[in-house]
């Protein structure tokens, strides 16, 4: 798994590539990356899932932990460009009740500004 961070209008976007699973973590976890951004004062996080093929329970834990850390500080964490297959799993497991998921990155970015 590879994660690259970029910034747009005070929103940190993480472009994730590959699978978020425990066996694929070599260096730093997604949650740790999010926490680093929060420690530097950032409060709006967008996870770009365009190139995410699959996630396991560890991945779910990482996403939820990132979401909790961000929201506990009054920030927002959202997800964009998730695959249909993964979105279906998110729906079945009701993750969509908690996480805000957008088809389009621009729409997701706009949603931060609207709040």
């Amino acid at each position: 798994m590879e994660i690259n961070a970029r910034e747009k209008e005070d929103i940190v976007i993480f472009d994730i590539e590959g699978e978020i699973r425990r066996s694929d973590i070599s260096d730093i976890t997604l949650h740790q990356l999010v926490k680093n951004q929060l420690d530097s004062g950032k409060r709006n996080i967008l996870l770009n899932f365009q190139n995410v093929e699959f996630i396991d329970s560890f991945g779910v834990g990482e996403i939820l932990a990132s979401y909790i850390s961000t929201n506990n500080l009054g920030g927002k964490m959202k997800i964009a460009k998730i695959s249909k297959k993964l979105y279906l799993v998110f729906q079945v497991t009701m993750l969509t009740k908690v996480l805000e998921i957008f088809d389009d990155e621009e729409v997701a970015l706009d949603s931060f500004n609207k709040e």
Binding site: G41, I55, D56, S57, G61, T70, N72, M94, V98
Partner: protein
């Protein structure tokens, strides 16, 4: 912001912020120009009435006023709904100017108009009721509670200063040319029109909410709502807070009527001549207003700030209670002066201003209706009620009272009005009259005491309700997400579904075990349930294969029967508990464990998962210890999951050690959480071990938060007290999570308070370190917000407050201070002001206020100085 000269002058005497100086000064002048003429009119009214009618007839004047004001309120409330506020105020000012002039002419020929004293009495009351209410409504709209608390003393003192000037002028002219007084009042009212216009121009420039609402209504072409007396009454009746306010006002004015009656009766004993009485009332009012002016200008803000609204509301009635006892026991001029001085000095400053603050958090729509009803009608009605009580109880009773003592008579004889009489029979009549009046004063005192007790009670109630209203003005912006996630989501189920899907491609055994877990936990979606209930062929076509768009199918054993969850669980359990199964599987497990390579990873995962399905005492369960230390995170994950199911004591050290690794931390936390209270001792050991890795210690704090029992809370609190502070943020967050999920868990107040002080000290030191220099760059950084370490420190302070106060209130205040608008920041601080204990309030609130950087640095320095005081050494 550029600081004007006016600001620089005013900031020397009052706590004012740049941008507030113009409106505060205009309101000061507005009130000045209303109260100046009123304090000419008032002594003139009192003297005219008492000389012409006598103090015995005061209750009639009070009662008539109440009735007339009631009628006027009905008319005024309708007018208020139809006429723009600016026009209405000016119309009223013009009306009182014209009628003032007419009154002056009629008094010149007063022999013809014997009813004039009573009419003038009522008119003068209408004057202050209408113009006073209009002033306070306007002032209420301009400021929020924090601004008003700082500035109300100042612009309120404008009215008192006007009163002093008016009363002094009356004192001076009262002896020479009393009829000139009303002409002067007329002239001053002209100036007030000019000031009112300036205030509305200022409001329009600032775009006041009222102005915007008015514009919107105009755009919509909305008809004004029909607002009448009944509507105003219903508004107050239906709102608990407004009802309490109304009761407080009634009690305030009933008591004021008693006091007014008592003091005027004593003065009536002293002075008989009209010109002297006008002059005496004039000087008396001037003297009485001098004190409240000083109190308002220099003390009101400080008193409200120091004691808060609740205690400030009690100061006035308690002082009157003392005086009422005094005058009841010894009804002489000295006590009359004391009670009237207390009444005037505090009712026009602290009491009225604090009462006005109570209106500020109410929505404008409710406020206009409530103020018209309460301030215009109810206070006069209360005076009438007071008068009625006096009339009903005093007049029939005074005949039955015993004669005054010799000493009292001697005191009465010392009075000038009595000594000057030469005729003996008239002298006896005078004496009897004086005796009757003294008895009435005493009786009125008894009533005052009873009503003051009720007043104190309702003041306490209304101040409590005020805090609720302030709280409702600001919204919770976010809640702890862990609580929200736990409420909305079954995280275990979610993870299980993902693991089931993941295992499908890896191993049919793992997949089957996951399905079995889903069955056991009864957490199946209809699709998955379908999968395990029908023949595999049908499943292939309809269920998971299609659902997850995979070419592969579920590798479930085929069966023609619907599988019962209970039967399946029982059967698997029976097989796994068989000795022969344990024996046969032993070698398989040993082989799998022996080979630590990637190839056998799946086999180890299967074994780790399978052990979780066995009894904790089964021989194979012993192998789990080894699997917990497996290098593969996948194997480790299943081992942790099984450990959580078996909950054997010997696994605990391994589970805790797994908290160190971010990959296994979450699974280890879940496993340890399942142990519950049993594992707190072990977690506590790691938590307090300074030699242990800091990430692991933070992890143990998080697990204790998940366990969330009183013991877990105590353990975290103990570490917070004893620790060196390196993991304080994590400890505080863990305790906050417990507080948020289990409000019943209690924390030791002394430890929390000490920690709050330490955290505030840290905040101040960090703030000074960042912004204490004169560097422009540092100051520029401030505009981007506080550095993160300051944010963390501030958040810790508030979380700690949440341990000893209602967490919801504290979080509401914190969130609005952090990300709210100027008004919501002020309301948040107001909420804290009414929630925190005095010593905490004094430290925290100055640091929270939205001030210039230099001022904030100064306040941090002052705070640190305060910490060096002996009683704060523990910080």
């Amino acid at each position: 912001m550029v600081k004007s000269r006016l600001y620089r002058i005013l900031s020397r005497i009052i706590d004012i912020r740049p941008g507030e100086e113009i409106i505060a000064s205009l309101l000061f002048l507005y009130f000045f120009f209303i109260m100046f003429p009123y304090y000419i009119i008032k002594p003139y009214r009192d003297a005219k009435y008492i000389i012409k009618e006598g103090s015995e007839y005061l209750p009639i004047a009070y009662l008539t006023t109440a009735i007339v004001v009631g009628i006027v309120v009905a008319f005024y409330s309708r007018l208020q709904a139809r006429v723009p506020r600016r026009v209405l105020i000016i119309l009223c000012l013009v009306f009182f100017m014209v009628t003032c002039l007419i009154s002056q002419r009629l008094f010149v020929k007063e022999e013809k108009f014997i009813w004039m004293p009573l009419v003038f009495w009522v008119w003068a009351n209408l004057f202050i009721v209408v113009l006073g209410t209009q002033f306070w409504i306007l002032a209420n709209d301009v400021f929020n509670p924090r601004e008003a608390k700082r500035l109300i003393g100042f612009f309120g003192s404008g009215g008192l200063l006007g009163g002093i000037f008016g009363a002094l002028l009356t004192g001076f002219l009262g002896r020479k040319d009393p009829d000139l007084l009303l002409l002067i009042a007329f002239g001053i009212l002209i100036l007030s029109i000019f000031v009112v216009n300036l205030i509305f121009i200022w409001q329009r420039r600032k775009g006041s909410p009222d102005d915007k609402a008015e514009k919107k209504d105009k755009e919509k072409g909305a008809e004004p709502a029909k607002v009448g007396f009944i509507d105003c009454f219903n508004t107050v009746r239906k709102n608990n807070y407004l009802t309490l306010l109304a009761v407080v006002v009634i009690l305030t004015f009933v008591v004021a009527t008693f006091i007014d009656y008592q003091s005027k009766t004593v003065i009536d004993i002293h002075e008989e001549r009209m010109d002297e009485m006008t002059s005496l009332f004039g000087y008396f009012h001037a003297a009485l207003l001098g004190l409240p002016f000083l109190i308002s200008m220099f003390m009101t803000g400080g008193i409200i700030k120091r004691f808060g609204i609740r205690l400030t509301l009690l100061l006035f009635p308690l002082l009157l209670l003392l005086c009422a006892f005094g005058i009841g026991i010894w009804p002489v001029f000295g006590w009359a002066l004391a009670i009237k001085t207390s009444d005037k000095s505090l009712s026009f400053s602290l009491n009225q201003f604090t009462r006005e603050l109570l209106y500020i958090p109410i929505s404008p729509e409710l406020k206009y209706k409530a103020k018209v009803f309460i301030d215009m009608f109810l206070n006069r009605f209360a005076k009438g009620l007071g008068a009625l009580i006096l009339m009903i109880f005093l007049i029939p009773f005074f005949r039955d009272f015993t004669q005054p003592s010799v000493m009292q008579k001697a005191e009465v004889f010392d009075k000038p009005g009595v000594l000057e009489t030469t005729d003996e029979s008239q002298r006896i009549d005078e004496l009897e009259l004086v005796d009757k009046r003294i008895r009435r004063v005493r009786f009125a005192s008894a009533f005052s005491v009873i009503f003051i007790f009720a007043w104190v009670f309702f003041n306490i109630k209304v101040s409590k309700e005020y805090t609720k209203i302030v709280k409702d003005k600001i919204k919770i912006k976010w809640d702890r997400a862990d609580r929200m996630v736990a409420e909305k989501l079954d995280v275990d189920y979610t993870k299980l579904v993902f693991d089931t899907i993941e295992s499908r491609n890896r191993s049919s055994i793992l997949y089957a075990m996951h399905i079995f877990d889903l069955i056991k936990q009864d957490k199946l979606t209809p699709e998955v349930k379908k999968l395990i209930s029908y023949k595999s062929d049908e499943v292939k076509a309809s269920s998971l294969g299609g659902l997850f768009e995979s070419g592969e199918t579920a590798l479930l054993p085929e069966t023609d029967e619907i599988i019962s969850e209970d039967v399946l669980g029982k059967e698997i359990g029976e097989i796994m508990s068989l000795d022969v199964y344990q024996e046969v599987m032993k070698s398989y497990v040993e082989n799998a464990l022996r080979d630590e390579g990637v190839e056998s990873e799946t086999a180890r995962m299967e074994v780790a998962k399978a052990i979780g399905l066995m009894e904790s005492e089964s021989p194979l369960a012993e192998k789990l210890g080894e699997l917990l230390w497996d290098a593969s995170p996948e194997v480790s994950k299943y081992a942790l999951e099984s450990a959580a199911k078996l909950r054997k004591k010997e696994y605990v050290p391994a589970l805790i050690k797994k908290l160190f690794n971010p990959i296994t931390r979450e699974d280890a936390s879940v496993a340890l959480e399942k142990y519950g209270d049993r594992v707190i001792g072990a977690l506590s050991d790691y938590l307090s071990d300074r030699d242990e890795d800091i990430e692991l210690r933070k992890g143990t704090a998080s697990v204790l938060a998940r366990i969330g029992t009183q013991d877990a809370g105590d353990c975290l609190m103990w570490e917070l007290e004893e620790g060196k502070g390196e993991i304080d943020t994590e400890l505080i967050d863990a305790l906050d999570r417990i507080r948020s999920e289990k409000p019943g868990v209690q924390f030791r107040e002394d430890i929390v308070e000490t920690k709050i002080l330490r955290e505030i000290k840290k905040y101040c030191l960090t703030f000074i370190k960042h912004f204490g220099t004169k560097s422009k760059r540092k100051k520029a950084e401030m505009t981007k917000g506080l550095p993160e370490e300051l944010n963390v420190s501030l958040m810790n302070v508030f979380k700690l407050f949440g341990f000893i106060y209602l967490r919801e209130d504290i979080m509401r205040a914190y969130q609005n201070i952090q990300v709210g608008t100027k008004d919501s920041v002020d309301y948040a601080i107001e909420l804290l002001d009414n929630t925190l204990k005095k010593e905490m309030r004094e430290i925290v609130i100055p640091l929270m206020e939205d001030l210039a950087l230099d001022e904030r640095v100064k306040r941090c320095r002052n705070c640190l100085k305060d910490f060096s005081r002996p009683n704060r050494k523990n910080a």
